[in-house]
């Protein structure tokens, strides 16, 4: 099978073709990449912020809070869910020398458009509101982007063969991802979570990724930025290690089932 330097040269055209496939052909084209998540943000803002009026936190407007968290989360969710059907969707892989890593990484990268929209929202609001965060604060969203890509890549390498070898894991994965959506401070500010639930929230690596993403516009975090860096980096490294181990041990067995 081709080595990493060999197959990584194929990545660019594949990601571009995937983006074109997703967005070309529709009347609004690439605008959908922005429009669809914006509509989703608007829906959440309408329900939680305006109708229920239950979520109120200090600092940024609620819509900005949701947008800065939901966009990166949607990226992660789309990539992981895509990986869970990657093998059955590409049965031809069994009889080709296209490496599995290439398909997983393509999926992670071509889904990342949403996260980039999230970054735009964060930096846009930071500029408008005159944020005075530190250099680390400005750089943290980029680090978050990279660490989340590594995490999604590692978990994708793990999820793809597991979902094929254990068919029941696919519906479970959807439930887990839904649970994680609400177990992360995406739709609500951390400050409204009280007591033991707050420390539970801090066990979730995505909470720390959100700290990094929001650092230019959320100067008051419940934990220090450096802790978030450490946790997010650890989660990325652990995911990558799990993914590489799955690549070595599980992919061959999963391919044989296609």
């Amino acid at each position: 099978m081709p080595s990493l330097p060999t197959w990584s040269r194929s990545l660019g055209p594949l990601v571009l073709a995937d983006l074109r496939r997703r967005y070309a052909g529709s009347v609004l084209g690439g605008l959908w990449a922005v429009l669809a998540p914006l509509l989703e943000v608007a829906a959440y803002a309408l329900v939680f912020g305006w109708i229920l009026e239950t979520v109120r936190g200090p600092g940024m407007p609620y819509t900005v809070l949701i947008a800065s968290g939901l966009f990166p989360w949607m990226w992660f969710r789309e990539a992981i869910e895509g990986c869970s059907t990657l093998l059955p969707d590409n049965r031809w892989l069994r009889r080709s020398r296209v490496p599995a890593e290439l398909l997983v990484l393509r999926l992670v990268l071509s889904s990342s458009v949403r996260a980039l929209v999230g970054l735009l929202v964060v930096f846009g609001y930071a500029a408008v509101s005159g944020s005075r965060t530190s250099i680390e604060g400005w750089l943290s969203p980029f680090a978050a982007l990279f660490l989340q890509a590594v995490t999604a890549y590692g978990l994708g390498l793990l999820v793809a063969p597991v979902a094929t070898l254990v068919p029941d894991s696919r519906p479970s994965l959807v439930s887990i991802l839904t649970l994680l959506t609400f177990a992360s401070p995406i739709l609500y500010p951390e400050s409204i979570v009280a007591g033991p639930l707050q420390s539970l929230l801090l066990w979730n690596p995505f909470t720390h990724l959100l700290h990094l993403y929001r650092s230019p516009i959320e100067p008051v975090a419940l934990t220090s930025l450096s802790l978030s860096w450490a946790v997010a980096t650890g989660a990325a490294a652990a995911s990558l290690a799990a993914g590489m181990a799955a690549r070595r041990r599980l992919w061959w067995r999963a391919r044989d089932l296609l």
């Binding site: 081709p2 197959w7 594949l14 073709a17 009889r95 490496p99």
Partner: protein
């Protein structure tokens, strides 16, 4: 380096969750010398595709070892390895890059593939719009231009049209002359004979035969004929019963009963029959079948315009086939007695009398036909 491919005691077991494990390959060993071509034959499910997958490292053997010297290019399944949103050209570049080519040589390969595949404007359209034949053209054009020392092809050539199939075979012959090692699985035994010098016959995942291509394919063909004979309709008899077929003998020209005849010698079919009432000008016929059911020949007394008379009693009908031109194989004779208008049968025995033919000739087909070859010069080169 004495071998290009070395396969030692390879077994492959597929274990499906909740199902019995299936042994797709069972203790398979062989090697392929550099520059030679191995035909892989066997019925569907015999393990051919799994063997090629193992050779190319697309699945791991459960036990045993595989060694392939150098890069191998493969054409295993239509569309496998193609990204359907990319164009034919982009896929050609991708495949070349994945095979380790530089960007410049990948572009060059794409140009060569475009020229070979003759897909016209389609070469620059997304592969998802391709027909099966176009996918085959693209796949073959890429695999055969990758300049790999080993090329493995699995049963996809049959998809192409006649023109492109011939083009592929010519390219494969060129590759043989260039000492490329080939492994080809196919059902077109004629093409395999032309392309390969050795053959491997797989049966239920095991090696049934391995050796010179003519010998192995002859054994395989014989096996297929027997299978076909075993599964086709069993020999039957019937009729109104107004004629009783008492005995049928197959003899040589001297009247000695035989079960095997040499091609070109005489076959006599002697039919002892009895009429149960006086019959006017019955039509008597003999038919010869190959044991896979091919109807070889069927003369009768109506078409020959003879024996128009009344019969009442016991008789022996003799049909003599002088210089029987059937080629080697297993055959059966049928016997029938019809009314004078050839509408209903008094008695018939369908493929009840087996015999075999042997010959030293290597000609392919059903019969040997008198022929000669001649070449005349009709002009000078341009």
């Amino acid at each position: 380096m004495s071998t290009a491919i070395e396969v030692v005691s390879v077994s492959k077991v597929f274990g499906m969750p909740g199902a019995t494990a299936v042994a797709a390959l069972d203790d398979v060993s062989f090697d392929v010398a550099p520059g030679s071509a191995l035909a892989v034959v066997g019925e569907n499910g015999s393990g051919k595709s799994t063997l090629l997958d193992v050779l190319l490292g697309m699945t791991r053997p459960s036990s045993g070892s595989v060694r392939v010297e150098g890069e191998a290019a493969a054409l295993l399944e239509l569309g496998a390895g193609f990204f359907h949103e990319l164009t034919g050209r982009q896929n050609a570049v991708q495949q070349a890059l994945l095979a380790g080519a530089s960007s410049a040589s990948a572009q060059a390969l794409a140009r060569q593939a475009a020229e070979f595949a003759e897909l016209g404007d389609f070469f620059d359209r997304p592969v998802r719009s391709y027909s099966a034949g176009m996918l085959m053209r693209l796949g073959f054009a890429i695999a055969s231009n990758l300049q790999a020392p080993v090329v493995v092809i699995d049963e996809v050539l049959a998809v192409g049209d006649g023109y492109f199939q011939r083009k592929c075979i010519e390219r494969l012959l060129e590759m043989r002359r260039a000492r490329v090692t080939l492994v080809i699985a196919a059902h077109d035994l004629h093409a395999l004979r032309s392309l390969c010098d050795r053959a491997l016959w797989l049966q239920h995942g095991r090696v049934a035969a391995l050796g010179a291509v003519d010998d192995v394919l002859a054994s395989y063909e014989e096996h297929l004929r027997r299978r076909s004979a075993a599964t086709s309709a069993p020999p039957l008899s019937g009729g109104t019963g107004e004629v009783l077929i008492r005995r049928v003998r197959l003899t040589d020209r001297d009247g000695v009963e035989q079960s095997e005849f040499r091609s070109g010698e005489t076959l006599r079919v002697e039919v002892e029959f009895e009429t149960l009432r006086p019959l006017d000008s019955p039509v008597m016929g003999i038919a010869l079948f190959r044991d896979d059911g091919v109807y070889c020949y069927g003369p009768n007394t109506l078409f020959d315009g003879r024996l128009a008379e009344s019969y009442d009693g016991r008789y022996i009908l003799t049909a003599e086939f002088e210089e029987l031109p059937l080629l080697a194989g297993r055959y059966q004779a049928s016997v029938s007695f019809y009314d004078k208008d050839h509408v209903y049968a008094y008695a018939w025995h369908h493929r009840l009398y087996p015999f075999s033919m042997r010959t030293e000739r290597k000609d392919h087909g059903l019969v040997w036909l008198r022929h000669r070859f001649e070449v005349r010069r009709v002009g000078d080169p341009r």
